[in-house]
């Protein structure tokens, strides 16, 4: 069946010409005990399976994935919440490698200007293998601050700032003596509740080897945008349904996480100042749980608009769109695009004083624990909408550009906000179909969407 070569008529991959079967009930499995469990349990027609039962949907953690994915058979309809080698995007050292490679490729194919669009990642060097390259760069820029981060840890652990080579000489002496036995660091524990509740740990099998951590040294952004004198970063959610072709959705809500203390470069040792991660903030002596230290993105967007005007804000947000798309494109060829997989990423973005956004990192398992009532609602809606897009119930047609709070951002090509065939005469009027920080009237939209889907089914049957 021929279809016009027009991206607005391209589905987002769910319907493949044949009818997808509707299931009577969907068996789900997960080990996470937080908002996700609430959402799954309340979903009509979904039943929980425990232990060894067969499942149709598994929101797994990454350690399970690593151990079991390769020898687990999955029927066509089955879905799982991670890509096998997601770490190509989420481990800082791999991400840097992939981005650098992609940038080179872009420069070859499209020129310097296009390649410059990848310059949203602060200069990073892998340690210890790129140590000498790092020293060269370090000497070229005396006096600037650098940050050392472990590649696979989360919640701000193991991070320190430095300005002198001496600080890392000591560190290097410590690890250079150890043999590089394993390049895989201890499993990422980003889903553990900071209060210390247990998670299925499998560190026992690491007992015999000395765990060697890889670090990256990264140029520290010394001029972050401050609000109320405080540093903050943005948490944004991106849902990837497939890599080949690349299909990604952007959630409208998210939040800005504030550091509890005022920003100043003179206190490098005070990790509470520099790390905006909520987990670290929670241990700061200043931390008051009632404060929450988060702003919803809508509030942040309004604040910026009242200060800088709507055009500057538009530019900032479209620069952020660029970060999401380019970062995903850079790992497109590397990630094993299994049709069973989808992944909800948590992007951490830092804005500097020139309103340029920087990518700090991408999380494969963003925290789903709620720190406040508002946060609980955001995460609940986020997860509900994620499940709508995954569409185990086979309700969607595959041509939707918006599902609840998710907007289809990339569908093997940019997605336009406008309806109908794109303006073929030029890309001048192109407006991206992203609404980060905008009004999220998801309830209305979902109601209309499902009603019209029901009507369509009635008509066709």
């Amino acid at each position: 069946m021929s279809r016009p070569k027009n991206q607005n008529y391209k589905g987002h991959g769910l319907s493949k010409g044949k009818e997808r079967e509707q299931r009577a009930s969907i068996r789900f499995k997960t080990t996470l005990m937080n908002t996700l469990m609430d959402v799954l349990r309340h979903r009509p027609g979904w039943v929980e399976v425990k232990d060894e039962g067969e499942w149709d949907f598994y929101w797994c953690d990454v350690s399970w994935l690593r151990e079991n994915f390769d020898h687990t058979y999955m029927d066509e309809h089955v879905r799982i919440s991670h890509f096998r080698n997601h770490y190509e995007l989420t481990r800082k050292n791999y991400m840097v490698k992939n981005l650098k490679r992609f940038r080179k490729q872009l420069e070859r194919e499209a020129g310097k200007l296009e390649a410059a669009k990848c310059d949203f990642f602060p200069k990073t060097f892998e340690m210890p293998c790129e140590y000498h390259l790092f020293v060269e760069e370090f000497r070229k820029n005396p006096g600037i601050t650098w940050i050392m981060k472990p590649v696979a840890r989360s919640q701000g652990k193991g991070i320190f700032l430095f300005r002198r080579l001496k600080d890392i000489m000591d560190w290097r002496k410590g690890t250079a003596g150890k043999k590089l036995t394993s390049l895989e660091a201890p499993p990422a524990r980003s889903t553990v509740n900071p209060s210390g509740s247990h998670d299925a740990r499998s560190s026992d099998d690491q007992k015999d080897e000395i765990p060697v951590e890889n670090y990256v040294a990264q140029r520290y952004i010394e001029n972050p945008y401050l609000i109320g004198g405080r540093k903050f970063d943005l948490r944004v959610y991106v849902l990837v349904m497939s890599y080949i072709p690349l299909r990604a959705w952007l959630y409208r809500d998210g939040f800005a996480r504030f550091s509890n203390t005022r920003f100043t470069l003179s206190s490098i040792d005070d990790q509470y100042v520099h790390l905006t991660n909520v987990a670290v903030q929670k241990t700061s002596p200043d931390y008051h749980p009632k404060k929450g230290c988060k702003w919803m993105l809508q509030r942040f967007r309004q604040y910026l608009a009242s200060k800088h005007g709507p055009e500057a804000v538009e530019t900032l947000f479209s620069d952020m769109d660029n970060i999401f798309v380019k970062s995903l494109q850079s790992v497109q060829k590397v990630i094993i695009s299994d049709k069973h997989c989808f992944e909800l990423y948590g992007y951490d973005i830092l804005i500097d004083q020139t309103l340029k956004p920087w990518l700090l990192e991408v999380n494969a398992s963003p925290s789903l624990t709620a720190s406040s009532q508002e946060d609980y609602e955001l995460k609940t809606c986020l997860l509900e909408d994620t499940l709508h897009v995954v569409d185990m119930e086979a309700r969607l047609t595959g041509r939707e550009k918006r599902v609840g709070g998710f907007d289809l951002m990339w569908n093997d090509g940019p997605v336009s906000r406008e309806e109908g065939p794109p303006d073929l005469s030029g890309m001048g009027n192109f407006v991206a179909n992203t609404h980060l920080g905008c009004v999220n009237d998801r309830n209305n939209q979902l109601r209309q969407l499902f009603r019209s889907l029901q009507n369509q089914k009635k008509v066709s049957s």
Binding site: G228, F258, R262, K291, G292, C293, Q302, S306, K307, S372
Partner: protein
């Protein structure tokens, strides 16, 4: 001249005795804690404070012994007991009897008069807060409105700005428009004056400073959105207490600045000073007048000037006893009258279950809804306060909120339950509520 402050004698008397009570409370706190009302800081302490000026919020002084001098509900009790000695209400109940808490005969507007007064909020006039919502194409109203706003700013026409802002201010233009309407300039003298106040703060410590700290910690710091601006609040409020130019507004304020005497010279006028220097004793929630402004102004001296002007034009009326149409007494009466006249069933029901509506709405009006509405909605509301140069819109909004939640309120059977229905206003859209209440309700 007293009549300029307040023409009605009984109001003046009531304000006078309220002030005596506040001052007594302040003085007794002072004696109890053995803290002087004011003291000069030692040099070491001055240096420390100067270094910490931009992050005073990190300080955690022991404030457990301090209590706010009063809270809005204390003030409400005073207003409830206000009586005009020349007015005989008569014991017989008639349809004219006012069933609310306020029992003074002040003239307040009814809906037809409000419709005339707030004509620009009508259904056929474009509004920001309604006609800029996502479903409305911007060509219909928003674009043109923004263009006019830019023109007004270019011409620097303060009167035109005031007229313009009745339909709401575009987010990007609001800071400048407010400054234009309030006649705030960025003259170097103003910056200098602010710096002087700052020096004052560094050199002397006032007892009210602790009250300000406590208030900020209790209210703004706990707010989900305003906590970020904590430091700015100290920078503004501490300077505000020392600003003697604020004393000027007492010429038209029914209140008078409290006087204190230098130690040992009680009663001797030559040794009388106003305390605090600006004559304004903060109460619980005072810092919320400043918090929303932090959204618009980031330069401390500008923020300060805007706040000071807002205070001496509007906010002072919300906590002094007067007969002014924008005074809190009139606002309370306006609120109750609107409710009793246009929602009699609701009003009667709430009264019967011991939930007099004013007991719930009073705190909203005293704070000009700051901390109760979402910030963007609050700013749209304050746009209209500036545009109409009146606080009456606060009473109208309060009544509109009750009207909106009337169905739920009719089902409650206690004051606590009524409070619960009205506890969360953060989802309300202010302009549609006002429009419906004034222009679209069958009366």
């Amino acid at each position: 001249p007293e009549h300029l402050k307040e023409p009605l004698v009984y109001m003046r008397k009531a304000q006078g005795s309220w002030e005596k009570r506040i001052l007594k409370s302040l003085n007794s706190m002072c004696t109890e804690l053995s803290i002087p009302l004011a003291r000069k800081r030692p040099v070491g302490e001055q240096k420390e404070l100067l270094n910490k000026w931009n992050e005073m919020g990190t300080d955690e002084p022991d404030l457990s012994l301090f209590r706010p001098v009063y809270a809005p509900k204390d003030f409400l009790e005073v207003l409830i007991n206000l009586r005009n000695p020349n007015y005989e209400n008569g014991d017989s109940l008639s349809f004219r009897t006012h069933l609310g808490l306020i029992q003074v005969p002040l003239k307040v507007k009814d809906i037809p008069e409000l419709k005339e007064f707030f004509v620009e909020l009508g259904l056929t006039t474009g509004q920001l807060g309604i006609d800029d919502s996502t479903q409305v194409p911007p060509e219909l109203f928003e674009n043109e409105h923004v263009r006019i706003g830019q023109k007004v700013l270019a011409e620097q026409d303060s009167a035109a700005a005031q007229q313009y802002i009745r339909q709401g201010s575009p987010t990007a233009l609001r800071a400048e428009l407010w400054a234009l309407i309030l006649n705030i300039s960025s003259q170097p003298e103003e910056l200098l004056y602010y710096e002087q106040l700052k020096t004052n703060v560094i050199q002397h410590d006032l007892l009210v400073d602790s009250l300000i700290y406590k208030d900020v910690k209790l209210t703004a710091s706990n707010d989900d959105y305003y906590f970020v601006f904590e430091d700015y609040l100290y920078q503004v409020l501490l300077c505000f207490s020392r600003d003697t130019s604020v004393l000027g507004h007492f010429a038209y304020n029914s209140a008078s600045p409290p006087k204190s005497y230098i130690r040992g010279k009680l009663g001797l006028e030559e040794y009388a000073v106003f305390y605090p220097p600006n004559g304004v004793i903060p109460f619980h929630g005072f810092s919320m007048y400043v918090a929303p402004l932090c959204f618009l102004y980031h330069e401390p001296s500008k923020l300060y000037q805007i706040f000071r002007e807002m205070y001496v034009r509007f906010f002072f009326r919300l906590h002094s006893i007067s007969s002014h149409p924008s005074g809190i007494v009139s606002l309370c009466l306006l609120f109750e009258t609107l409710l009793q006249t246009y929602l009699p069933q609701l009003f009667y029901h709430l009264r019967e279950i011991g939930a007099q509506p004013l007991r719930i709405s009073f705190k909203w009006m005293v704070r000009a809804f700051s901390g109760y509405l979402a910030t963007d909605q609050l700013l749209l509301l304050w746009d209209r306060i500036l545009g109409y140069n009146s606080l009456e819109i606060l009473a109208v909004l309060a009544a509109a909120v009750f009207a909106f939640r009337a169905v739920n309120l009719m089902e409650v059977t206690s004051l606590a339950a009524a409070e619960a229905v009205l506890a969360d206003l953060s989802t309300l859209k202010v302009m549609p509520l006002l429009q419906i209440f004034l222009f679209a309700t069958v009366t």
